[in-house]
């Protein structure tokens, strides 16, 4: 391997003030199914390995092959990883969108396009770089199937030359991508090197963008939230999973299915300590999960909007029969089938109240893959402690995009299996009453099916029951039980993860957000701070909300509620949580289907002034 092959890259000439370093976005426009993901992820990771903070956002269609796809990589020396609205470096490999990609290229930017694409190139505010991607690929690749694939590695090479991306980090990135298999790495590097050489020989750099090794990613990892959630569940001891495929949640179950055999085979018996079932639909998925949770397993499912709707009846049963279960909802754009490959936070109010009658649910709100892992295991402790379904609301952006984040933290607490009575205890107690609030926290003690004691059993049902789990239609029993469930919800309020709060002295403006909007909010606050505008922030990490949320709103003149949906669902929940401050809440919602940008948020906040 050549020690430093890219010294000749124009980007590596002594900079001069004009160069813009580590602070721009690259967008590659291709067709889905053409294999550009390898190219894009390799670019992303190579930059990451150069110590440059990056984020990658994949904008893909809801089909399998041939439709326009855009992958945007943001580099930011400041460490901002939110989506930006424009791109300076644009790679156009898809003729269908080349013109619009061309027009969208930011002033001063670079437009790199497959030479065979014929189009008017009349902008004088950007640099043009035609590249023979197809020709180079064809020359190197015999298998026709693989030709289009290799064409992607050509633009990787050209970008490396253009921006000064280090070859050894690219090789390391590909090594990571191909899980250490040398063969594919070599064949890809061959294309990359050839392309670098071609660029060196045929192109002259006229734009001003380049990257430079720094050390702002030390100690961080790069991972997607669905894989993180899957691992979190596995380290949380999940041992029963029933699920039904749906974008963008499928990779949660895939991650679980892939990692379980490696991590969870009983070392003595060699038997699996788990079972994963792909059910016939979402109703069955949650039905199985409740059955397993009831019988004592750590049980979960993963789905998205349409599945949440189909789980409404079983969610109500889980709430009322008080059965532990974990339900991951990786949110996509609704209503209805909506936009399966676009992000949204449109289920938060719906999941909170899912099910007819007086149901309400505990919800966890991870803000990045690090929290997907943490809430992945914590959800089971909460579900078994509270004996109720616990929802984890992630979204397509966290779930399917690569995020830079802290390395996962090994569970800090032992598993909490909740209130379960053994046969011995029942003997001592001379029986038990399943739904009696013996501890005053609203949570009864349960027994697991098979507990070998004549007084251990009880009859679980979704219809009205008394403390002994016997069918009852008496008003007193019904009211008594509902009061206990309300008390239990108060217990939950105290147990769920507290919000992340940053109160700034003298700030009139508060910002409340949750989930994947966090990076845009952080960037916004930093940029406003630079302008001397102080803001406080509260990131909600769970429902129900606690007193801190109430006080936060009370402590600020106006609080902007940042969320990605049409009806300002979180703003509604906050209004109900803190009615006396209702008028201080400013609906700040966006439902474009794209992750929100700091530019948008700043406009909304300044516009509200």
């Amino acid at each position: 391997m050549i020690s430093n092959p890219t010294t000749t890259s124009p980007a590596n000439q002594p900079a001069g003030p004009a160069f813009i370093v580590n602070d721009f976005s690259i967008t590659a426009a291709t067709k889905n199914g053409s294999g550009s993901q390898t190219a894009n992820l390799a670019l992303l990771r190579a930059l990451f390995k150069m110590g440059i903070p990056v984020s990658g956002k994949n904008l893909f269609p809801s089909n399998i092959q041939g439709r326009p796809t855009w992958y945007t990589i943001r580099t930011s020396g400041d460490g901002f990883i939110a989506r930006r609205d424009e791109s300076e470096i644009v790679v156009a490999l898809n003729p269908d969108t080349a013109l619009e990609d061309h027009d969208k290229t930011a002033t001063g930017g670079a437009f790199i396009y497959e030479e065979s694409i014929k189009m008017p190139l009349q902008r004088d505010d950007i640099s043009y770089y035609p590249i023979p991607a197809k020709r180079i690929a064809a020359a190197l690749e015999k298998d026709p199937k693989l030709k289009t694939y290799s064409a992607n590695m050509v633009y990787v090479g050209v970008l490396m030359w253009l921006l000064g991306i280090e070859e050894r980090e690219m090789e390391a990135a590909l090594m990571h991508h191909f899980k250490g298999k040398q063969k594919p790495v070599d064949s890809n590097m061959k294309v990359v090197r050839t392309s670098i050489e071609w660029a060196q020989a045929n192109l002259t750099k006229t734009d001003l963008y380049r990257v430079e090794r720094i050390d702002k990613t030390k100690g961080l990892i790069m991972i997607d939230g669905n894989t993180a959630g899957a691992l979190g569940a596995i380290y949380g001891g999940v041992n029963f999973v029933a699920w039904y495929p749906i974008t963008p949640a499928t990779s949660v179950a895939d991650g679980i299915t892939d990692y379980l055999p490696r991590l969870r085979i009983d070392s003595e018996t060699k038997a699996p300590t788990y079972a994963v079932i792909q059910s016939e639909d979402e109703l069955a998925a949650l039905g199985m999960v409740l059955g397993a949770g009831w019988a004592g397993a750590r049980s979960m499912t993963s789905t998205s909007g349409p599945g949440i709707s189909l789980m409404a009846e079983f969610s109500g049963l889980g709430y009322f029969a008080e059965i532990p279960a974990v339900i991951w909802d990786v949110q996509r754009m609704g209503p209805a089938t909506g936009l399966p490959t676009r992000v949204s936070q449109g289920d938060i109010l719906k999941a909170y109240w899912l099910g007819h009658g007086d149901t309400k649910h505990v919800i966890l709100l991870p803000g990045d893959p690090f929290e997907c892992f943490e809430m992945g295991w914590r959800a089971f402790d909460l579900a078994e402690r509270l004996q109720t379904p616990v929802f984890v609301l992630s979204d397509l952006d966290i779930g399917m995009n690569q995020w830079m984040c802290k390395p996962f933290e090994y569970p800090t607490e032992d598993m909490d299996r909740g209130k379960v009575l053994t046969a011995e205890q029942i003997t001592e107690m001379k029986g038990f009453a399943r739904y009696k609030d013996v501890d005053g926290d609203g949570i009864g003690w349960r027994t697991l099916p098979g507990t070998n004691h004549p007084l251990a059993s009880y009859f679980t049902r979704g219809s009205g029951h008394n403390e002994r789990a016997q069918l009852s239609e008496r008003s007193e029993d019904w009211e008594h039980n509902m009061e206990r469930l309300t008390r239990k919800f108060e217990t939950a309020r105290a147990l769920v993860p507290a919000p992340q709060i940053d109160i700034v002295e003298g700030a009139d403006i508060g910002i409340i957000c949750f989930g994947s909007t966090m990076p845009a909010v952080e960037e916004t606050r930093e940029l406003l701070a630079r302008k001397g505008v102080k803001t406080s922030m509260l990131r909600l990490r769970a429902l129900p909300m606690n007193q801190q949320v109430h006080d936060f709103i009370g402590a600020h003149k106006r609080t902007f509620v940042v969320e990605m949906n049409t009806d300002a669902q979180l703003a509604s929940l906050l209004t109900l949580h803190a009615p006396e401050f209702a008028t201080r809440l400013v609906r700040t919602n966006n439902n474009s289907g794209l992750p929100v940008s700091a530019a948008w948020l700043i406009k909304r906040i300044e516009g509200a002034k």
Partner: protein
């Protein structure tokens, strides 16, 4: 502690009664009296077929010496689905949602496959809203006994047609049914079920041995038991009514369950007997009662028999189809002896080191 209560996939074979014994003593092989198998007072109508079936379930479990705590009762919603509250109070029970018993049972019995599952559903619960989950349950071959208390009507909602109602059957508001009934036994066979039987609630002599045999089956065992609704579906022109049943109940053979380890079959002279070996080694002995001898290992014959009966709107009772060879869901998933629900926490959470290794790969 729960490890001790049962015996994994091979069912509760250990606690099987010696032949004839249970008949004499008034305690069974595991030392329990019949009273230990009783349930709460029924709230069903006097004379409801479902109550007879509850009694027969009690008899079967008592005589087999099944540990009540080692059995889980499941049901959906309906009069039939209420009945698990009326037998075996010492067993755990899960009265789930309308049409969704199969999914709940799959979850519970995969979480603890050492327990015996016994589900009671109705024809509406299984044939109408629940046909999808039923088909997929059977396809997965979960080890459980699935009893359909089939009265061809919605009892609890006061008399509407179900998917098993007869063509021509009449009801107060709905008028005349013109849709062909779904034959749940045929569906089960085609879906891959390895134990399919049909009987009549008023015929304990046939029902009890069938339940016993079903409790021994390796996978899903479906029993479609015609169980007249005296209140909404007992016109004598209905195939589900007592009167009708008595007339048309067309036997193919009656069944005597012969438990393991019993050598002599006292009152069953050789020669007339035909044996089917179940997964746990116990045998079902079939007695030919008329010329319409039926071989329950012949899938084609079973389907044909049912198709003919279906077209004639008649039903045949007895053991229709048996195939003890297909793996059940727990076996397909290679579950070990220890139920998932009993695996200790330290085996559920991988080591700190394993996580460090994974993270190392994410830089």
């Amino acid at each position: 502690m729960t490890q001790t209560i049962s015996s994994g996939p091979s069912g509760i074979a250990q606690s099987m009664p010696l032949s004839g014994l249970t008949k004499k003593a008034n305690i069974n092989i595991i030392g329990l009296e019949k009273g230990d198998y009783k349930g709460g007072d029924s709230t069903l109508c006097n004379g409801c077929g479902h109550d007879s079936i509850s009694a027969q379930i009690i008899t079967a479990c008592y005589e087999l010496g099944i540990q009540p705590e080692a059995l889980i009762k499941f049901s959906g919603i309906g009069c039939s689905s209420k009945s698990p509250a009326y037998f075996m109070s010492r067993s755990f029970g899960f009265n789930s949602l309308h049409g969704r018993m199969p999914s709940v049972a799959q979850g519970a019995l995969m979480a603890n496959h050492s327990l015996q599952g016994l589900g009671v559903s109705g024809d509406g619960d299984t044939g109408s809203i629940g046909i999808g989950q039923f088909m997929h349950l059977v396809r997965r071959n979960l080890r459980m006994v699935y009893i359909i208390e089939n009265n061809g009507v919605y009892g609890l909602t006061k008399g509407q047609f179900s998917a098993t109602s007869d063509i021509g059957q009449e009801l107060k508001h709905a008028g005349k049914n013109e849709l062909p009934p779904i034959d749940l036994c045929r569906e089960a066979i085609i879906g891959g079920c390895g134990f399919v039987a049909r009987s009549f609630a008023g015929d304990p002599k046939q029902v009890v041995p069938l339940i016993k045999a079903a409790l021994r089956h390796r996978g899903t065992a479906v029993l479609d038991i015609i169980s007249p609704c005296v209140t909404f579906n007992n016109k004598d022109d209905s195939t589900k009514s007592y009167a009708w049943g008595r007339e048309h109940d067309e036997r193919i053979h009656d069944i005597q369950f012969v438990p393991n380890a019993s050598e002599i079959q006292v009152d069953y002279p050789a020669g007339e007997a035909r044996e089917v070996e179940l997964h746990d080694g116990s045998k079902i002995v079939l007695h030919k009662v008329d010329e319409a001898m039926h071989d329950p290992t012949d899938k084609h014959a079973a389907i044909r028999l049912l198709t003919e009966a279906h077209d004639k709107q008649e039903f045949v009772t007895g053991l229709l189809y048996v195939d003890p060879n297909r793996e059940n869901l727990a076996e397909i998933h290679d579950l070990g002896e220890m139920p998932l629900a009993h695996i200790p926490n330290d085996k559920l959470r991988p080591s700190r080191e394993s996580l460090q290794k994974l993270i190392a790969g994410m830089f």
